[in-house]
């Protein structure tokens, strides 16, 4: 049998989504952090930081509850003004962030500042379990809309936190089922152990489907069409507007909506892409089969294969 939006919504809101009050608490904690940093910037004019921009799932409102022992992540882009955007040292910028944090939180332990990330700087709040990743970005304009950021593959790429947030909000505004579908897809990715696939990749696939097919009629249809897309069409790549996927030769191409010269899927290896496609095909077959099963218990059992034993519709 088909599961209604209300039934699937129960699972999303009751088991997956970070509750609204917790999200507000975490966002308030990020705000307090940024206010402290802004105060230091104000008092000490030597920092050449232009702007902080909140990014990621917490800002978009699509965070799932953290898994046991895992922190809630908050992403912040730290936009630096540099004299020469073609010649800067990322480690210098990371050092500045660490100095800034130490000035803002003199009582904090050095261990609370994690500088082991290749391109970000992490701040852990032990009490709440919040982990804020501060990513240094070299600003390219007066409003710090665009900037240069080191990608996970180590290349310096032009991107835009603002454009990413705007892109998500535009698509979520056109399809109210995008957000719950993304939460389900993130849970599925975790349960199927699909390494390498980021939430941002799933979000862009879903946004692409909104552009291509319009808003999904139901949450179940939305999820099924994502799986069908991955299984059948993902090899053709994902691009927005006039961006051209053929300029890339990576196993998976998902063109950055903020920069058509950047493939945000470049780091996914062919084995990871194949695992994603195989898992999506199985998921598509399972949900299609479950639609015809006569009883709710059988249907829920089939869904549990994809989302784990915590799947429920009550």
């Amino acid at each position: 049998m088909r599961l209604s939006d209300k039934e699937l919504g129960n699972y999303v809101s009751g088991k997956l989504a970070l509750p609204g009050d917790e999200r507000n608490d975490y966002r308030a904690q990020v705000n307090r952090l940024l206010e402290k940093l802004e105060t230091v910037l104000h008092e000490d004019g030597s920092y050449r930081i232009q702007k902080f921009r909140r990014a990621g799932s917490l800002e978009k409102g699509t965070s799932n509850r953290p898994r046991a022992g895992k922190p809630v992540d908050a992403d912040v882009g730290v936009y630096f003004a540099v004299n020469d955007t073609s010649n800067f040292d990322i480690t210098d910028l990371q050092r500045v962030i660490k100095k800034l944090l130490s000035a803002a939180y003199p009582q904090k332990n050095e261990d609370d500042f994690d500088d082991t990330g290749a391109r970000t700087f992490g701040v852990v709040f032990q009490g709440s379990g919040l982990e804020v990743d501060l990513a240094p970005i070299v600003s390219l304009d007066a409003d710090a809309n665009y900037g240069l950021q080191y990608s996970r593959s180590g290349n310096c790429v032009k991107t835009s936190v603002k454009a990413h947030i705007d892109h998500y909000r535009d698509h979520a505004g056109r399809d109210p089922l995008l957000a719950p579908t993304l939460r389900l897809a993130k849970r599925w990715r975790y349960w199927q152990e699909l390494d390498g696939v980021q939430s941002f990749h799933l979000e862009l696939m879903l946004s692409y489907l909104v552009d291509r097919d319009g808003p999904a009629p139901t949450l179940e249809d939305s999820l099924r069409r994502l799986f069908l897309f991955v299984a059948r069409d993902l090899h053709r790549g994902v691009a927005f507007g006039s961006a051209d996927v053929s300029r890339f030769s990576d196993p998976l191409v998902i063109v950055d909506p903020a920069n058509e010269e950047n493939n945000v899927g470049a780091r996914i290896e062919s084995g990871e892409r194949e695992a994603l496609i195989v898992a999506a095909r199985t998921a598509y077959e399972t949900l299609t089969w479950a639609q015809g099963l006569p009883y709710q218990g059988e249907t829920v059992s089939a869904w549990k294969e994809l989302f784990g034993d915590n799947f429920s519709i009550d």
Partner: protein, 166 residues
């Protein structure tokens, strides 16, 4: 019209088996993009009624070229003696579509249907299978290669899937 079930299978068994067929047809239709969602829903609804009334003998799904040649086929043959079968999952029917291809579906009725009067058949068709009509397809696939790859079963009721290709 009264449907009699045996103690070896009942309506739920038929529905479970039908669910696998319906999934296969939906996957073929969506993967190839050759049938609309509405059309798929009405087709599988008609076959569900036919199966539950126990008039269904075989279902044939064809992918045909623009010239009418069968390029791919999946045939579902009903069994009421499927107790020993393993129950497979539907799927793995990803047919590549070419320009001009079409998707066609045929059903073959069993002896119980043949025992109905013409008036009863007409009434059933009018109520449950609007838009369906007769065909001259005789159920044979000539020299196409075949393989029986799935068995869908719930207790004694089952469908055996055989695929044909060139």
């Amino acid at each position: 019209m009264t449907t009699t079930f045996t103690d070896t299978f009942n309506r739920d068994d038929i529905r479970r088996v039908y669910a696998s067929f319906a999934a296969d047809y939906t996957i073929i239709a969506e993967w190839t993009g050759l049938r609309s969602t509405t059309d798929v829903a009405s087709t599988i609804a008609a076959i569900k009624v036919l199966a539950e009334a126990q008039y269904l003998k075989e279902v044939h799904i064809h992918l045909r070229s623009a010239s009418g040649t069968i390029r791919q086929a999946a045939v579902y043959r009903v069994s009421t003696n499927a107790s020993g079968w393993s129950a497979d999952r539907p799927g793995n029917l990803y047919w590549d579509k070419e320009s001009g291809d079409s998707l066609q579906l045929f059903v073959f009725y069993n002896a119980a249907w043949g025992a109905l009067s013409q008036a009863q058949r007409d009434a059933f068709m009018a109520q449950n299978m609007p838009g369906w009509g007769p065909s001259d397809f005789d159920g044979s696939y000539g020299a196409m290669s075949s393989s029986t790859d799935r068995h869908y079963a719930s207790r004694a009721y089952g469908m055996e899937r055989t695929r044909y290709s060139r």
